[in-house]
């Protein structure tokens, strides 16, 4: 990936600016005004989830266990794995301000009962000519569809498997810059590129610092995306997206007392997404349809390293290379079957192509190899009631049909009840 010496200071500067923006804007607080053009909008999203595991299946899908929660101590339980019984869910405090008509500043803090995390903190320009816009700071990448949406915008309780296992528990979510351009055409056409630091704990861009290879300097992830939306009149609306990215460094390490082994390399991914909405024109969403689907494919090209402890330090040597191929998809549909009531179905597959890394043991010797593994599935059904606009109550049943690394398939059934309330100046929703 080409990198100029300017990238780092520019990124750092933009990020600092972004982090400073909400603070500066807070000085011009104007709570309560409907005309929020110059003030700060505050919204609070509170969520509670009742979770009940009716039957226990495999914990994680084959081929994704290692990269997902390998060797990383998250230090907190903000990973949206639910306990049986009551859970805090995913709550957010969002601040949104405008700096004249030059910038929008956004700060979104995600929290549960024990942790607070800066989910997003960024500036977007509003005054660039020619249909351009630049976003800088920490943000959710605009690849795919669901990746840039916060949980309260989702139609199902949990993040789709393909997004969770390819990009991590928070999706592709990183510090960097994004540039987009909207074409001056009849059909909505958006092109965008992102440069991201690549500072990920999980998923395709995770990197373990125990590896003998020095960590490449950021930004380590580059993405590109395009979205298209033809005008289909008052009843129908559709948007198609294509996106992809290159990860300059990914890797994992495993230590087993006196020896260790690790993988380091690069990766790329590409995906397609589509969303269709039908508006019936009836009140309270009655008769509306909402269909969406996404597919992502990723490849990693990895070098294998073996380490042996020698006088208190690990001696590493390179031992061959591996290439992995994995993918996943989901399709979901939601229908407003009565005023304020919705029902939805989602089906997901992970690892339709699943040539994944597997730890092996042979002649007293640990090493990684690529093995073709089975496909895991998950099927979910939900019913949602929206008594008033900012509140929803959702009941969801999910069947996990995961295959494990040894090819054993086991099904688990989960029930979830989700209550989500948006308080304050709740911002407009994107398509």
């Amino acid at each position: 990936m080409p990198r100029t010496p300017y990238t780092r200071p520019v990124l750092a500067g933009l990020t600092a600016l972004t982090l400073a923006a909400p603070g500066a804007a807070a000085a011009q607080w104007s709570a309560g005004s409907e005309d929020s053009s110059w003030g700060v909008d505050v919204s609070l999203i509170l969520e509670g989830i009742y979770f009940n595991e009716l039957s226990h299946g495999n914990d994680s899908p084959a081929g994704f266990g290692d990269g997902h929660d390998h060797g990383h101590d998250h230090g907190h339980d903000h990973d949206h794995g639910f306990d049986d019984g009551f859970n805090m869910g995913h709550s957010e405090l969002a601040l949104n301000a405008q700096l004249g008509d030059l910038f929008d500043g956004v700060l979104i803090l995600g929290f549960d009962d024990s942790d607070i995390e800066v989910e997003e903190a960024y500036l977007t320009t509003r005054a660039l000519p020619g249909g351009f816009q630049v976003k800088a700071g920490k943000f959710l990448s605009d690849i795919g569809y669901i990746n840039s949406r916060h949980p309260h915008d989702w139609d199902f309780v949990k993040r789709p498997l393909v997004n969770e296992y390819l990009f991590g528990d928070h999706g592709l979510h990183d510090t960097g810059v994004q540039a987009t351009w909207i074409a001056p055409t009849e059909m909505y056409t958006q092109l965008g590129v992102e440069l991201l630091q690549g500072d990920q704990d999980e998923g395709i861009a995770a990197f373990d610092s125990d590896l003998p290879v020095s960590s490449k300097s950021g930004p380590r992830v580059a993405t590109a995306f395009a979205k298209f939306g033809p005008d289909l009149g008052a009843d129908h609306a559709v948007q198609f997206g294509v996106s992809g990215g290159y990860v300059a460094q990914t890797g994992l390490a495993e230590e087993h007392g006196d020896h260790a082994h690790g993988l380091e390399g690069d990766a790329w991914f590409a995906g397609l997404d589509a969303v269709y909405k039908y508006s019936s024109g009836r009140a309270y969403g009655h008769g509306d349809w909402n269909l969406k689907g996404e597919y992502f494919y990723m490849r990693q090209s990895l070098d294998q390293y073996e380490g042996h402890e020698h006088h208190d330090h690990m001696d590493w040597e390179r031992a061959g290379s591996l290439a992995t191929k994995q993918d996943g998809l989901y399709l979901e549909g939601v229908y407003g079957f009565a005023p304020r009531w919705e029902a939805g179905l989602r089906t997901e597959a992970l690892g339709l192509t699943n040539d994944a890394v597997e730890g092996s043991h042979h002649h007293g010797h640990d090493y990684f190899e690529v093995e073709s593994m089975g496909t895991s599935y998950r099927h979910s059904a939900q019913v949602t009631f929206r008594p008033v606009e900012p509140v929803f109550l959702r009941a969801q049943l999910s069947q996990n049909d995961f295959v494990d690394d040894h090819g054993h398939r086991d099904r688990g059934l989960e029930f979830m009840l989700q209550l989500n309330v948006a308080l304050g100046a709740h911002g407009a929703h994107r398509f």
Partner: protein, 308 residues
């Protein structure tokens, strides 16, 4: 390694493809716009802009007139339209807050940013009625600035026409005189038509409406709002609320009005139990109307009421 080469080849192909698409889009004629390219959120505003702009303006309306303008999606086609707009014409006061800010932000067009002359917010030009959303329990649908459904008031629309003519003149100084003249004429026609219609309606009419979206009829017709079908703004009618309306209004005369997109059941219940007539009416004129479309709509509203 061979697949690294494949990757380089793929990357090159993609890069070439992307540049071709980019150039094609840049070179595409961005629609030879005749004069001012105006995007209006509702068809009432679109009708004013068309009347004032004449041949010197191209007007596109976002919200379908038979839909509730509170609840729309920030569609890709909206952003494509706003990307090319010289002017965004909105109602404001919270009517479009669920979708317009997202569409405006996603359009990457400075000309229509809040605070720019290309952003015309109608609610800023007039005095609003107090919204009943301030009275009830806070159900997340509070219009502190006032009732945004002033499209039902031709007198306020007349004020807006004048302000709009002036603003359009600032954006297109060559046509400023013509815009102003047409705006004044439109304002006069709105006031005269309102007066003519009001004179024909029998005095002291009482009406029940669904939402606060027809409250502004009180401003120009001899009517008084005596009840709402919704128990609180944004909440569908409940049986208990409808029964209490019936017991309050029993033995009196009146008319029930609701918007075409609102469920008719509550109105039908009142019609059965009170013997009042009920009418589903449009709230905005057809999407491609000019001022005549809006004047016809005023007639429709006025003629649902008993005439002298």
């Amino acid at each position: 390694m061979s697949w690294r080469k494949t990757r380089i080849r793929i990357t090159r192909t993609l890069a070439t493809l992307a540049s071709v698409v980019f150039l094609a889009l840049l070179l595409l004629p961005s629609q030879a716009a005749a004069g001012l390219n105006i995007v209006a959120t509702t068809s009432t505003l679109g009708a004013l802009a068309r009347e004032i702009g004449g041949d010197e303006a191209e007007v596109r309306v976002l919200a379908p007139p038979d839909r509730d303008a509170h609840y729309l999606d920030a569609r890709p086609s909206f952003m494509a339209a706003l990307r090319r707009a010289d002017m965004l014409l909105e109602i404001g006061a919270g009517l479009e807050e669920g979708w317009l800010p997202a569409a405006q932000r996603g359009a990457n067009n400075r000309a229509i940013n809040s605070g720019q002359p290309g952003h015309f917010r109608s609610a800023d030009m007039i005095e609003l009625r107090r919204s009943i959303t301030l009275d009830g329990p806070n159900m997340g649908h509070v219009h502190e600035e006032g009732n945004p459904h002033f499209n039902a008031d031709p007198l306020r629309m007349a004020q807006i026409a004048t302000a709009l003519g002036e603003r359009m003149g600032q954006l297109s100084p060559d046509h400023a005189a013509a815009f102003m003249e047409r705006a004044e004429r439109a304002a006069d026609r709105l006031r005269n038509h309102a007066e003519t219609l009001a004179e024909k309606v029998a005095p002291d009419q009482r009406i029940v409406v669904y939402h606060e979206d027809l409250d502004y009829l009180e401003e120009w017709l001899p009517v008084e709002i005596v009840g709402y079908l919704e128990p609180a703004p944004g909440i569908p009618p409940t049986a208990r609320h409808l029964r209490s309306l019936v017991s309050d209004l029993e033995g009196t005369e009146g008319t029930i009005l609701y918007a075409e997109f609102q469920p008719p059941r509550g109105a039908e219940f009142l019609e059965r139990n009170l013997g009042w007539s009920s009418h589903a009416v449009p709230l905005d004129p057809p999407a491609d109307s000019s001022l005549d479309g809006y004047l016809d709509l005023m007639t429709t509203w006025a003629q649902t009421l008993p005439q002298r």
